[in-house]
Symmetry: none
Subunit: 202 residues, 4 copies
Amino acid sequence: MVDSVSQNVDLASESTWSPREVELLEVTLQLLQENGYDRLTVDAVAATARASKATVYRRWPSKAELVLAAFTEGIRQVAVAPETGTLRGDLVRLGELVCEQIGQHAGTLRAVLVEVSRNPALNEVMQQQFVDQRKSLMLEILGEAAARGEIEAAAVDEDLWDVLPGYLIFRALVSGRAPTARTVANLVDNVILPGLTRDMDS
Amino acid sequence: MVDSVSQNVDLASESTWSPREVELLEVTLQLLQENGYDRLTVDAVAATARASKATVYRRWPSKAELVLAAFTEGIRQVAVAPETGTLRGDLVRLGELVCEQIGQHAGTLRAVLVEVSRNPALNEVMQQQFVDQRKSLMLEILGEAAARGEIEAAAVDEDLWDVLPGYLIFRALVSGRAPTARTVANLVDNVILPGLTRDMDS
Amino acid sequence: MVDSVSQNVDLASESTWSPREVELLEVTLQLLQENGYDRLTVDAVAATARASKATVYRRWPSKAELVLAAFTEGIRQVAVAPETGTLRGDLVRLGELVCEQIGQHAGTLRAVLVEVSRNPALNEVMQQQFVDQRKSLMLEILGEAAARGEIEAAAVDEDLWDVLPGYLIFRALVSGRAPTARTVANLVDNVILPGLTRDMDS
Amino acid sequence: MVDSVSQNVDLASESTWSPREVELLEVTLQLLQENGYDRLTVDAVAATARASKATVYRRWPSKAELVLAAFTEGIRQVAVAPETGTLRGDLVRLGELVCEQIGQHAGTLRAVLVEVSRNPALNEVMQQQFVDQRKSLMLEILGEAAARGEIEAAAVDEDLWDVLPGYLIFRALVSGRAPTARTVANLVDNVILPGLTRDMDS
DNA sequence: TCATAAGCGAGACGGTACGTCGTGTCTTACG
DNA sequence: CGTAAGACACGACGTACCGTCTCGCTTATGA
């Protein structure tokens, strides 16, 4: 379980952008957060970075891919399990991390979503950067809880592992109500934990 | 309780588009589903509807608002409580409805989200059309379940009423894994219901 | 000769616009002088006159005809022979009249020219209002001069009767140098009169 | 004197349009003569020249300026003194040249006049392309005639040098009667020459 | 006196051109 | 050879205007 995580982390860190490319991506991310996707122009990116458009397009074949690269670069971070010692602590910490990450990049993520759904290659990258990494993390947390006897191993639903981050992301992106620490606590206590421990009482 | 429902229905139907406007929105929605957001052109909408671009822009000041209007018009439907007689049945039915609605318009919704987050007025509309309506529906379902004694009234969390639709929307929009009937059933059985009935067993 | 003049005057005065129509034409002329032909809009005319566009179009079938009507209405005036007693006096007076008339309506005339050249019917009206009237006037002046023995009757060139007004109009409309009283005097003394009296010296 | 002519030729040729620009102007002029000013569309110009509208608008900020440029380009020609050896010959040739040039572009010139009168910058260009060039030509012709003793140097009126072309232009643009070769001959013989030689007989 | 019609204001409408802007490709000249 | 600068074709956007039309309201005439 730990292996798969580090694997993902390695994969994520594997993106070897040259310094110049990093600079371009940073400019892109900056402008993206300021303007949103479709008010961002490649010309502006090039001009701000004192680069030529050709320089941009040599690396990323379209605006969409440029933006996605900038986004994944911006959101990448070492995915380390919380290790608070209790399932509830781990889940709450995880939820708060999600809130933190998403909160900063809500606009960007909204913008990127449009393109991701159109381009399978982008979707692939997105899944790796965003989903798989988180999945391993979550499964690791649950695995440890099961090892501690807090939940039954069978309670882990393969399909619904992402209810916690998923709902929080929904709150941040779609609904107008950004999630707070209270939201996370309530969610864990009233929804996630009851779901995981539903068979423990019997 | 029934009254509140009909009230909602009225509210929902209250968006008074003229016949011509409805026609324009239908054309927009049609082309939207065929082509996606940015391959949709306002010229095409006007031409297909045998209308002038000015006629379109007189109503909706930008392509984004036109698309949002078409989307909310398309997603709107009689908001009637499922009334299956059991809480589980109601929830499953509600979840399936959400899947159905979102499934057709995922791309559109993604595109619309970007604009909504920028324009407070659009956000307002979005909230009313999308969120509030669903909220009263959900609260009604829960209220009836409480009346039947299936759950305690206290179990209804004011903040987390939208976990069911929210997670499903997340699945459809953000994660690459569109929710299925199985997803809904699992979600209701393993997450939502345990959360609602967590205090019933004690 | 006098008859033909009064005939023209009558023709010119014959245009019987209703008070409302005169008002519309005045507004048109006003806006025309302020904005020029293509920055003038029929909507603006209607709005300024607190009229409906239908009211305008009921009278004049196109913007061009409206503008021409306004122009001819604005420029119309009793064409009376100067009768100064000498050919030079008559010519100078005529030239000054032309300068005066054209000076006020140079912009309008420029604007109208475009349309006149396209629409034969407008051209017809233009000829009557603008050209024929002047022609009779000039021929009358020359006829009286011939009667006084100032010039030979043969010196009157049928084709070149409009050199005096024509050149002045050219100066006002095309060349950037608007004609002055000095211009008129020089023109009469150094060009027109020598042309008319060229055979008198022999 | 010959130097001043070549100078003018150089000046006239000095308008340095790039080959692409010349191509665009030629297409514009072509469509202009086929369709007239307002049936000419910038889209058609761009399409015919296999150019983008942006390419057109990068050079000329409006349709009016494009047309003016095309017109002055089209009307420009080697401004060489006729050199027929006699004043009359020179004048007639000059007049015929004017008729020829204007005849083809009357409609265009009419359209252009409106814009020129509004935009001082265009007026400037117009003056240089159209007026100044012609003026030095005319003064050269008169100078040579004076050198030959055909006229007195004093007969050249600084203000009225453009009666010949001016009246012809008036005839072509304003009056409905386009000038012919006979018109030119009559004008030169009956008006211009008498004016220039009026003091020779004494 | 009332109604039926004709004229009017207001302004939506189809059509079409304008002028702007952004993407992705390409060329030129520099280092 | 990679790069900065930026022109270019393509095509959508949003605006403006023309000439037509429909809608009510008012006014003026005819029973």
